[in-house]
């Protein structure tokens, strides 16, 4: 009994239940849903599809998790994706040898450099000038797509480049390259935040900026860093997205992905008020959102109703997280053992 109670109290319990329910519902509707087959040496099937489709959102949500942990938010990620695609594809397209690996590598490095600048810019506005994160990142969110179009000359730049195409469509060891890339960065961030002190310092700044500063933590540098990281991950997501369609579509690349990413982070149990973050939670959140979209089509609900379901998920999760509800739950739980409270002066 207590074991079950503890399990239900785990912050990932309900998101995982949601994920399982979605998968079960899809399987009931379409019996082969969870089947994975081998075709041409690659794995095929809905689970693989979910992995592949999740990769872009996962990359964006990864950066978003770190930003949100510092009490921030980054609205510019979608625009950054558009810019990344625009810069890279324009360069590949204008090169004499678009199919060469070196061309693609140089183009991608250029894209990363441009996004790095954007991240530095966002971080400067937030960490140095002290502008609210929502507004600071709204600037690039608004101007970013314009810049992307400026780079592509308003065209949807298309390219033919086998190495670039591999990013989104290729398979390696039977698995989609896109999923491997996202998985790689997920592991790297998890390792870096948890093996170095970065994770705990980010949480410390997010929980109590004043106390962290007095403890000697470089709060400003940390906040600046997470915005740079967030832009870089959005950039890589932009590569995957543009590689997927082999085109830089400045208007639609990563449109509204910032909202999905924030949603994934919140579903994963990281509070928008900053502090403790869970990368695993974010991964679950991303899977829930991707599966939701996929399952809904399988189950036969019109794709367009997805946002209605998303709304319900956000509302339920946020209500459960809200201080008022939390307080009531906690009060019920702690009836017996009062928490020591300091005497108000």
């Amino acid at each position: 009994m207590t074991g079950l109670a503890q399990l239900t109290r785990h912050r990932l319990f309900w998101p995982i239940v949601a994920l399982v329910v979605l998968l079960l519902a899809s399987t009931l509707k379409s019996h082969g849903f969870l089947e994975v087959t081998v075709r041409d040496g690659h794995l095929y099937g809905a689970p693989i599809d979910i992995m592949r489709r999740s990769s872009i959102l996962l990359l964006v949500a990864l950066g978003m998790t770190l930003v949100i942990a510092t009490r921030g938010i980054d609205l510019s990620v979608g625009a950054v994706m558009a810019i990344a695609g625009a810069v890279t594809l324009t360069q590949i397209a204008s090169s004499p040898d678009p199919g060469a690996v070196s061309t693609v590598a140089v183009a991608m490095l250029t894209g990363l450099a441009v996004c790095l600048v954007i991240g530095v810019f966002n971080g400067f506005l937030v960490a140095v000038l002290g502008i609210q994160p929502i507004i600071a990142t709204l600037v690039i969110m608004t101007a970013g797509r314009g810049i992307a179009m400026l780079i592509t000359g308003g065209q949807i730049t298309t390219v033919t480049s086998a190495p670039y195409k591999t990013l989104a469509s290729g398979f390696w060891l039977g698995l989609p390259v896109a999923a491997l890339i996202a998985g790689f960065f997920f592991v790297v961030v998890a390792l870096v935040t948890r093996r170095t002190a970065l994770g705990v310092l980010i949480e410390s700044v997010g929980i109590n900026p004043t106390a962290s500063r007095l403890a000697g933590v470089r709060a400003r540098t940390i906040i600046w860093t997470v915005y740079v990281l967030c832009a870089l991950f959005a950039c890589i997501a932009g590569f995957l997205q543009s590689s997927n369609i082999m085109a830089a579509d400045s208007n639609n690349a990563g449109l509204f992905i910032e909202l999905d990413a924030i949603l994934a982070v919140v579903i994963g149990g990281t509070s928008l008020a900053g502090g403790k973050f869970s990368l695993t939670g974010t991964l679950v959140g991303v899977l829930v959102i991707t599966t939701l979209t996929l399952s809904i089509t399988v189950i036969g609900i019109p794709v367009n109703a997805v946002s209605l379901f998303k709304a319900l998920v956000v509302i339920v999760v946020c209500l459960l997280q809200s201080p008022v509800v939390q307080h009531k739950l906690r009060a019920r739980r702690r009836q017996a053992a009062p928490v020591p409270v300091e005497v108000p002066a």
Binding site: A197, E203, G216, V341, V343, A345
Partner: protein, 511 residues
């Protein structure tokens, strides 16, 4: 005690008891307020002044006791209900909105309307009337933020009068005012008093209490010490009553005889020469030698915290020079202090100390980690060692490194903070009220620890509202008053609380 008043009290509180989990914030406190008097409520931090005010204005519910206002038993649901009964409160931080005009701040919620719309002309005129009643001749259309804090404070009082206040509570209204501004505020208070308003006045400045009060009620540790007239209560006695001169329980630490002699022949670890910061502490000189405990004595608001913050670099000084081991240094931010092996434990454990949602282990290692930077994580083995060592040495309960720090009791949080700083092997340890609000046992342990650390050669700056404690621990005592360092004395058996209380009360002139 004062003779029975001739008039009926407008407010009469009897047997007020309020408990917070684990603590009795007020224990059977009685308080009365007469029409046409200025009544000072005195006590150190945690004495229960604010709690009493909040009980009166309905912010807190009372566990037992009676509140009678104007002859009627009352239990207010909140500040708005108290206002309706004629009780207005003006808080320490001016609770007005500085984005609006003076007239609006005075009249918000009471604007004069015509056909349902605000008649600005009439509203401003009414505001001007209220302002002029307090001899405040400012343009009602001017923006509130264009005026000094003193004027804003007076505007807040004008606002309080709009609701026809019979009782006006002024909670530390003078903490950010200079002497001319205080004089002006006092004129207003006297005018209101003469009109029959009952005024409850809270301040930490003794001079002001004696300048304005008709009666004084003293609280200590949530209990009533007594009600006095200023005439029958000399300053020295007042301070004595606030601080509480008998501390029986800690007698085992009565370690005056074993106080080591500090060698002051060498270079001080830290020298502050004319260091000050406008608006928080006047320039001061202070030397701190290795192995020495320097106590800062002074009432709340005397500048003791501000002084300590400058020594660490939590705020940066705008005058003077700081030398560490004889070398001039600039302490611009906490990291600079940390780099010089100076650490500072803030008096606000909750907001400036503990990172609530992190574990005890993470909290303890944080200082060490901040020093090393994010890339060089403190190795797990070392972290475990350090954490175990300090949990053991300081007796942190529960002795579980994975407990969430925010759930610990105040005393244990304080120990966690101490552990955080001690783990960085500091040369100067600045402790601001490390023993406030924690139980007697933990207090004694922390005092003993501080004495031991100094004996091992660490320089310590020790701040406490409890004079006994400062005297017991310190080798040298700097006395502060009204944001000035007014005296400095070498501790000896001749230095008694009376001597220090005298210094605080007189401002260093009679010592």
């Amino acid at each position: 005690m004062m003779t029975e008043p001739h008039t009926t009290p407008i407010v009469e509180m009897t047997g007020i008891t309020i408990s917070f989990p684990g603590v009795k914030a007020l224990d059977d406190v009685a308080f009365r307020l007469l029409p046409g008097e200025v009544h000072a409520l005195m006590g150190e931090n945690g004495a229960g002044k604010s709690t009493l005010i909040k009980a009166l204005t309905g912010v807190y519910g009372i566990d037992s006791g009676r509140i009678v206002v104007g002859g009627v038993d009352q239990v207010f649901s909140g500040p708005a209900a108290a206002q309706d009964a004629g009780i207005s409160t003006v808080y320490q931080e001016v609770n007005l909105t500085d984005n609006l005009s003076v007239a609006e701040n005075v009249m918000l919620g009471h604007e004069i309307r015509r056909f349902g719309l605000i008649d600005w002309h009439a509203t401003r005129k009414a505001a001007r009337t209220y302002l002029q009643a307090l001899n405040l001749d400012i343009d009602p259309k001017s923006s509130l933020s264009s005026h000094s804090l003193a004027v804003q404070q007076l505007v807040a009082i004008s606002r309080a009068m709009v609701v026809d206040a019979r009782v006006l509570i002024l909670d530390e209204p003078t903490s950010s005012l200079d002497s001319d501004e205080v004089a002006r505020l006092f004129d207003v208070i006297r005018t209101l008093r003469d009109q029959g308003v009952a005024i409850l006045f809270v301040s930490h400045f003794l001079e002001q209490i004696y300048a304005i009060s008709d009666r004084i009620t003293v609280l200590r540790n949530g209990t009533l010490v007594g009600e006095y007239t200023p005439e029958e209560l000399p300053r020295v006695e007042l301070v004595g009553k606030m601080i509480g001169r008998t501390l029986e329980v800690l007698s085992e630490l009565e370690g005056r005889s074993e106080r080591a002699v500090v060698d002051r022949s060498g270079t001080p670890f830290m020298q502050a020469v004319g260091v000050g910061r406008r608006g928080s502490i006047e320039p001061f000189d202070l030397d701190i030698y290795p192995g020495e405990i320097v106590g800062l004595a002074g009432l709340l608001g005397s500048g003791r915290t501000e002084l300590a913050r400058l020594l660490y670099g939590a705020d940066h000084a705008d005058s003077g020079e700081t030398l560490v081991s004889g070398e001039s240094v600039k302490l611009r931010n906490p990291r600079a202090g940390l780099a010089k092996s100076i650490v500072f434990s803030s008096e606000s454990r909750k907001t400036e100390g503990i990172i609530g949602d992190l574990t005890v282990r993470e909290n303890i290692v944080l200082g060490l980690q901040a020093e090393r930077g994010w890339m060089r994580r403190v190795p797990k083995k070392k972290a475990d060692e350090v954490v175990a060592q300090y949990i053991e040495a300081l007796g942190v309960r529960p002795a579980n490194p994975d407990a969430i720090a925010g759930n610990l009791s105040g005393g244990n949080q304080q120990k966690v903070l101490l552990a955080r700083w001690l783990a960085t092997a500091p040369k100067l340890l600045i402790l601001d009220e490390p023993t406030r609000g924690i139980d007697v046992g933990a207090k004694a342990e922390i005092q003993k620890l501080v004495a031991d650390l100094a004996a091992q050669g660490m320089a310590v700056v020790f701040i406490s509202a409890e004079l006994e404690e400062v005297l017991r621990l310190s080798h040298r005592i700097a006395v502060l008053r009204d944001r000035h360092k007014v005296a400095e004395l070498i501790n000896s058996d001749d230095v008694t609380t009376d001597v220090v209380v005298d210094l605080i009360a007189s401002g260093g002139t009679s010592a």
